[in-house]
Symmetry: D2
Subunit: 452 residues, 4 copies
């Protein structure tokens, strides 16, 4: 038998390929589907069924293109919406994969029509539950997609789904969710990379609620929604444009790059140090590893993207962007910043400071303005006295609140998001920004005469 | 966190690499350890601990060489034996891997000093049990390594280990054994590639015994022991010879190959059809995919091996042999049988027959001799009337019982082991052998006028 | 600078990727173009120009799809024909690639509008000539594509191209043709994998002609034209269908395979021994390594193909077929012949004989019919007395000449094409065929009492 | 036939694998020999001969270990020296590889016993000359290894080797040297990645000398010799330590890294921007791509190396170091500078300036001190007025000449070597260093009001 979990790094998205006999199924495929086709073919399996647990809003689904390549049938949950493809799943519906059976289990809450799929072994016993965004390791799915007025209702549905349908499968049953730690779909997802009903029942904090009401009280809250969710939703209803043969990213000389900058977003995916040392004027900095999580907040879909990337080859970055719906990459800076500088072009830098120097600087300075761009959860857990709190994802709407007349020291957890914030502020005309290298982690690892 | 299961195909051996922070541990490493080094290095982890669940007898362990490459400490179970390396594990001993703790759990039965290792998550709760050869998916470890007189005792110990120590961990805890389906270490291992305490408690046939006595009665039996187990045991106590830089398999022209045949074993790892069509006279046929399971019964360690293999590159076969202690591969036939034939050399063939033709042949023939080389378990489950039963692994000791004066039709499940048997008989001078293509599976898929 | 020769094994086709600065060009791209895109992207190069030396007839060109992916301009030679894409090249036209210049050189003969392209280094000196099918290592292009009436004319043009345009470039200039040894486009191509004008001038047998007339006399002859050339020509004028995302080959159970056999071609790409031992009744045998050379003679485009292949994964075979225009692969036999036999299905075999046994058999036999399927060139060079000569590519039209009433011994060089021939004859109802393993090579390596 | 050129990037070293029949030879193998073993094995070839063109001084040769793995015979040139392995080659000696012959040609000059090897095709005609360090594309080997007193003599020998032995092979013969563009063994090596006797005769500047005397006058000069050449020479006479199984690079936490810094060299292989933004105090910066060329001048063999590298995986850097004899890598900073900063550790930075800002700064400044670290050749070709010239490789001996009392602006070609120079100066206590991003290339691409 074939049982593979395919992880899309960055997205922390898990899809699954399950096969036996001559047939296989894929659960929640991502957009670039070669991995499923290749593994199934090597194993002599035909992908016959594609199952979606819900209409995703955090990545572009790959069901339509994968179906076209394999002849598979697509089964979508959330049948209440108007899909342009596939067929709706019914609760209790079953599929046969070799000597195994898979059964649909309606588990609403994250979305109204969310389905889990339970894989039964040859004896008929439930073995694995593919729980989509209903139940994660250490967390549950968010319930705010239908708006604030339905929060209570959806949280209640989720309670019933988990306590009434998933937990009764038995403690031994394995839980295979659609996301792992690092996903934007659950901020508290644990790094228990494999888990079970029993482990979640005992250790998942959300499942320790004493009552349905307490569960709802804990879970029914609004979380920030990335603007890009709208595109994902629309595409995932309509079926996204096919990727087809991989497009060739276009290398651009410094001159050609500069020529295309008007109207484009310059997206620099290098790390915080490279970017702070020198970058193309006006560039936005999102580290390649955090692109899936943050691009949606800062990069509009309507503008072409010009890339500055870490190494010579932008293929990985381009694929990451495609997975979240950014198909319009106009090119990348061939030869990177070295080419830019040897072409005699001007660049910008961001001042940085280590925590040790910061102690001295703050001491010397009269009125430092300290900006904390961590999330509300992080700041609640470990606040910085006297700091202004603007979560980095909300910074574009709040750049006007940042003073122009004195140094702005930016803190995040490590310095990475602070550099992203610095790039946003620079673009908004705030020039005197300083990134604190090491961020709160560095700060709390050292000692400083100041009370900070 | 890094949590990887590394499978050695053929052996159906599972080892595990677990890491967090800057450190990693490997449980039951195989001999060729590049995979652990590469994955740990990519993740920025130092392999600091190597843990063995027991002294293995079915593959060559890689702890000593891996330790030399990484500086890791080696911890061996079965401390009652005299190891030339490492340190003995104590029950209850713990190791720290980042924010995780691993604890040793003495689980004797398969061997007297067998250890399981329980991985606890950051909260201290047990999460994964590495159960070695104590508990598999759908089966338990064999208890006959100390001889028939201690069968009862060891089976009792195993009962206590499983029911007294492993099951109490809780149904949700994941079970990660040292073998999966296809291993010689457990004939009934299920294809539940991931499992849990709860799934085993409910569905593992061995664990359904009503009492300790019933468990012992079911489990305390002798199984065939491959002769090669002795080499594994000795090497795994002493620490096997290091692999070092991979040796280059030596391509041989047909003439050079023929020159070296005296004293060597010609091992042909092609499939049943290629071998039956033509092979080097005197060659032994073991399909590459079954080499780990069968080589130990047929290939003596004292003689050099000459390979005839499927494709152009023998690297995979040579590595498979090294994993079970065969280091003396003298060379391989460059260009394969095509080179052999174009050099004008004589070859042998084995007659084959499809099940359809067999019906007609048996009908026409007076006294067919039918040899069934399946295992006792298989023949018990689906016997062939009037067939002589000699399990293929015992055939070398019983070739004298096979008649020379009439056709010998050989059956196995599919035709693969029948071809191995045919090669053994040809080497013993039995020339009139016929392999039934499709074997019992083919036979039972068709209908035949005969009563067979 | 980037200078890569990309070889398509089987076709023995060479394409070239040349880049410097930020731009690259591809000369004579094959259909599946990932290799060009990946290498150019890694090197920070944009594929800006695609140059064709002539309208190919032996493989499907990839210019159109590659242009769509990269934005490159396509330049085609043979401007006298009506292309549906690209722009015609003019003699003397130049392109800039970084500090290098490439210049078109009209070198008709193989086709009327055939172009070579000369790469000049930074100093302006000619460095490499991409000679397409005009000049190979050890051979020249064939001149018979326009039919017998224009043989003299085309051979004369080729003489002028080589002696008047290519040789004057200077002995030191490197020659990079479109094909290497093993191509159907030049039977005498040498295994000089890199060569130069000087080496060809001195050692290419065709270039030793004492006069233009002698050159024409040697070169102006008709060679067999594979029927599939017509499809290549048509597609390469129109622009072939894009490959797009790779289609997933469809695994078929034995039952599903059998159901689709009516109307389809069963193509078995295993080696001569596996096929002769057992194959699906009616299958055609072309070894995977020889598929590019032989499929065009035996497999009609109008029928779907069902594959039986060597290993588990048909991806390579499917790609090879796509390169010569076979896009309609309906599926492959999952699990191979082992699955076929265990499903209880009947198979066919071909009798084989080694050269040693053949001596004895021929001796015993009264009237053997010996069929030699080698090419006329091969048989001329080393004839078999009393053998009937039918080149394997012409066998489908001549099966009626093969006797049904006595054994037919089939010879080729090694036994590989003989097995292909046997499969053709079996399909035509000639059942008593015997393949001589080792073929002429084996025969001449041994001694036999017969006068053969 | 197999004909492969294996390039070791960074070293710009070419080795060659040539095979036919069942045997292969390797010319000038590098230390890590898997590539030869793997390719030969795939092709069914046994590496039977290893040929060295001369005792190398710029990389560690791999002949001894490769011979141990393959059973090949090693043939070394420069038989006048005392080798601990292999056998001396005689001029005119031949080897057979399938249907090809290889002949040794004594071509002294670079070293006294330097050999070239000429590959003759099946007809006996010379086809390829492996010219080692005698003749490159666009350059000839240096002649100063035996000291200044023998410069004339060695240059004369080289003239005789090239004009008397290599050029007479004929213009068409291909030239395959031991180095390509970018090697420290020939500063003028052209990017003609494949070349021929004729191309070199016509276009190699060294070969345009009107007479032997003029050739000697041009060629007989001393070049800087990296200190590390001594280790290479010693190892390549004795046979270097075997690599064996690849050692696992050791990841270190910031604390463990800091603990080991005393006595070690901290080698930071990131690019100029990352390093200038922040680095471990006291680190030396050599970009990974330039490690082969520069490490020998700055890193003593007697001290352990601690690495800070670009990405997560130091494997490539560790291998590059092993190729030039640095085996003592004590560890690498796991998690890179981000881990360093989040651990609250102090770092250093280097100030950078773009050429645009430099204009303004120089204008504002009274007495700038400008340091030009390019090579004498580069400075001669494009001098910087008023700059102090110290070639970066000589900087460690001249740090005392750099003023401490005012800003030091460092120029190189691009900014890369300037950052290396800045790291050297920082270690020597010169703190006020500024790297000019883009260097001379950037400077000459822009315009500046200053006369610089």
């Amino acid at each position: 038998m074939l049982f593979e979990r395919i992880e899309s790094a960055g997205l922390a998205h898990y899809s699954y390929l399950v096969g036996a006999g001559n047939e296989a199924m894929v659960i929640d495929p991502r957009r670039d589907g070669d991995v499923y086709v290749d593994q199934a073919t090597s194993a002599g399996l035909r992908i016959a069924h594609i199952l979606e647990t819900h209409r995703n809003e955090d990545y572009v689904g790959g069901a339509v293109e994968l179906a076209a390549r394999t002849g598979a049938e697509v089964w979508h949950a959330d049948a209440q919406w108007e899909y342009a493809y596939g067929q709706p799943v019914r609760d209790g519906q079953t599929w046969i994969v070799g000597r195994f059976t898979v059964r649909a289990l309606h588990t609403p809450g994250h979305t109204p029509g969310h389905m889990s799929y339970v894989l039964h072994d040859a004896s008929g016993a439930p073995w694995v539950a593919f729980t989509g965004d209903a139940l994660f390791a250490g967390d549950v799915g968010r319930v705010d997609f239908l708006g604030p007025e339905r929060l209570q209702e959806m949280a209640g549905l989720l309670y019933d789904s988990i306590f009434g349908r998933l937990l009764p499968l038995g403690d031994g049953v394995l839980v295979c969710p659609a996301h792992g730690a690092g996903s934007v779909c659950g901020s508290a997802i644990a790094d228990r990379v494999w888990t079970s009903v029993g482990l979640e029942r005992q250790h998942n904090p959300r499942l320790q609620a004493a009552s349905r009401a307490e569960f709802i009280a804990n879970v029914a809250r609004e979380l920030p929604q990335a603007p890009y969710f709208r595109r994902m939703e629309a595409w995932n209803l309509a079926g996204p444009p096919p990727l087809g043969s991989r497009p060739a990213p276009r290398p651009l000389s410094p001159a050609a790059f500069a020529d295309q900058m008007a109207g484009a977003v310059v997206l620099d995916t290098r790390d915080e140090l490279g970017f702070s040392a020198a970058h193309v004027p006006g560039a936005l900095n999102i580290d390649a590893d955090r692109l899936s999580s943050y691009a949606g907040w800062f990069v509009p879909y309507a503008r072409p993207i010009l890339l500055v990337n870490k190494g010579a080859d932008p293929t990985t970055v381009v694929r990451t962007l495609a997975r979240i719906g950014y198909d319009d990459v106009a090119g990348y800076l061939a030869g990177g910043m070295l080419a830019w500088h040897t072409a005699g072009r001007a660049s910008q830098s961001v001042r940085t400071v280590t925590v040790q120097s910061l102690c001295r600087e703050l001491d010397a300075h009269g009125e430092p303005w300290i900006l904390d761009v961590r999330s509300p959860e992080e700041t609640r857990h470990m606040p910085i006295p006297d700091a202004q709190q603007i979560h980095v994802t909300e910074l574009p709407q709040h750049t006007g609140e940042v003073p122009r007349d004195r140094p702005v020291y930016i803190f995040c957890g490590s310095g990475v998001r602070a550099t992203l914030a610095a790039s946003v502020l620079q673009r908004a005309g705030v020039t005197n920004v300083i990134v604190v290298l090491g961020g709160l982690a560095g700060w709390s690892s050292t000692t400083c005469p100041l009370g900070l």
